[in-house]
Symmetry: C2
Subunit: 349 residues, 2 copies
Amino acid sequence: MITILDVAKEAGVSAATVSRVLNNKGGVSRITVELVYQAVDKLGYEPNIQAQSLRKKETRTILVLVPNISNPYYAHILSGVSDTTRALGYSSFICNTRGETEQEREVLDLLAKRRADGAILLASELGSNWLLEYAEKYPIVQCSEFDPNIPIPHVSIDNYNAAREAVRFLIQLGHKRIGTISSTNNYLSTHLRLKGYRDELAEAGIPVMEHNIYYADRDYNFKSGKKAAKAVLAQENRPTALFCISDVLAQGAIVGAQEMGFDVPRDLAIIGFDDVEQTTIYHPYITTIAQPCYEIGKKGAEMLCQSLLNQQDGKPAQSTSAHEVILPHKLVVRESAAKRINLLDFPAY
Amino acid sequence: MITILDVAKEAGVSAATVSRVLNNKGGVSRITVELVYQAVDKLGYEPNIQAQSLRKKETRTILVLVPNISNPYYAHILSGVSDTTRALGYSSFICNTRGETEQEREVLDLLAKRRADGAILLASELGSNWLLEYAEKYPIVQCSEFDPNIPIPHVSIDNYNAAREAVRFLIQLGHKRIGTISSTNNYLSTHLRLKGYRDELAEAGIPVMEHNIYYADRDYNFKSGKKAAKAVLAQENRPTALFCISDVLAQGAIVGAQEMGFDVPRDLAIIGFDDVEQTTIYHPYITTIAQPCYEIGKKGAEMLCQSLLNQQDGKPAQSTSAHEVILPHKLVVRESAAKRINLLDFPAY
DNA sequence: TAAAGCGATGAAAACGTTTTCTAATTTTGT
DNA sequence: ACAAAATTAGAAAACGTTTTCATCGCTTTA
């Protein structure tokens, strides 16, 4: 292995000078700089990052914890994160934690072990107070999911109002019996979307029917949506519209409804959430609330790197000062729920 | 920060002894071991990984280069890789390279900078001889894609025979005019699948019609498949079956065919490749060649870690000895191409 | 003309481990 | 009871950097 001493010897200078040149510290004469670069090129020297980190007390690496790397929603956020950290001079160490607290802790312990300078968490359930232990000591940012009772900086969307908008849209379409497919998971977003659903109905003077609320498994998938729709639609007073808390659930619900002989959106309007792939494959294309995934990741990375840079400059860390960023969502109307359906088609009206 | 010296002082021993205890080196009395552990617990000591790596000259980390983390095919291989490295005591540093050579090199340079001990590449195009530069110096394993002319250990499936099987199945179904949707990308798998298609037709005495071969863009998607199907089916002597080199292309082809008024599989049989999600959402469920993605990743990780462990024990590195592992694929017959279609329905017969 | 200032450089310390070498003590064998 | 061997543990070197401090030779200033 070529070390800085080999380079120093080749260039006829000291290691200190080589280091100064390579780190653009200045205070080195033009001619020496040239000599050093020549030696570096000639020997093909690459600095040892371990040694650098050890001495500089920083790794320029951040941890990214993602519960499920195969989920395209997370994958998009991940893209935003890794592009941005790269641009800011940091590497991102992506860790697939499967949502298991044990693995999450194990990864976060890498902060204490000094393998990384900070961490971005892509999802953590409500009530994970243990996170604070880490956030108090190290810079941490949460993307998309967070716990409002735990003061950790985060970036997300306004899930509550997004849900209200979605439901409002269904109401404006003329629907009165509106169901929802939620989940038993413990994410804040899930709770807020359900609350938004309830509140919007209430405000419109429509009573909330508990039998129109279906709770899919924690780790729901396409099949969960299908099952949910079949359960909800089999009821006497079946809903004419369904607000699903994710696109996969919506996709499943559409297929489930179709298999029962319903036409979407004529017999049943369906609206999803996320707008991440697979919404425009088969007709009806899915009407949904679009989240700015890439930007969520980007913003999160910016916040974290900013805080690291400040800390480095000796400024206050303010890691736990609960900085909150809310990015705009957007209702995108496609086919699974859209205007101009003729409600007279429904015998109930 | 708590260092090993703090622990040593607390336990009333030397740093060397603490190190010995923590690394299970033996040669330390029962009582001292106990003292050390107590001190570690009391102070909450976590060893500094940078310092360890620097001294031990190993990082216990491997690089994983993936061109597109959002692609579920890669995501599954990734799962296999990261589960396995974890089990073997290594961390995996996942890097999204977007398939850009420049980024790939930048990441692989981390090997020279000693941030990682080896690398797994999930895809690299044919003719990337520059890779050998790295493979000669560091342990590298390729998963799924590789270049047969470059002696780097790899794990893959038998793409050639898998393609032949797929086409043979279509022939057995009675099809004579069989097209394929390939791609202009430069992956070995793409070439082999096309060659398998040609050879199987030839062996069956069916002339290969060049106008029945469609080349989708390098980074094809669902829409490419749709476009491809529409182009191929618009021809005079349209094929009655289509072999697609991936499931997304097959999915697109199905929708394209349907939009043109064809029924799949009655009017057109379609077979895909990979069997990774989205093959069983809408009917017709997609008939495809299933790849053991998770196992590919697992095997690749095992090979790499094994080679690292050997190297560590001073055994020959044999990094470039072109170890090759071929895992079994499987034809899974679903609906988009299946027996018992009545060929008399086709006016051409 | 001496003092001060400045630019360029090197020696050495520091970062936090692991490992080698050596020494002290205990155990074992005869 | 004594030499040899084994066990336990510490001091110090090593890993490859960066950074502090000191030095040296110049130029500038009064």
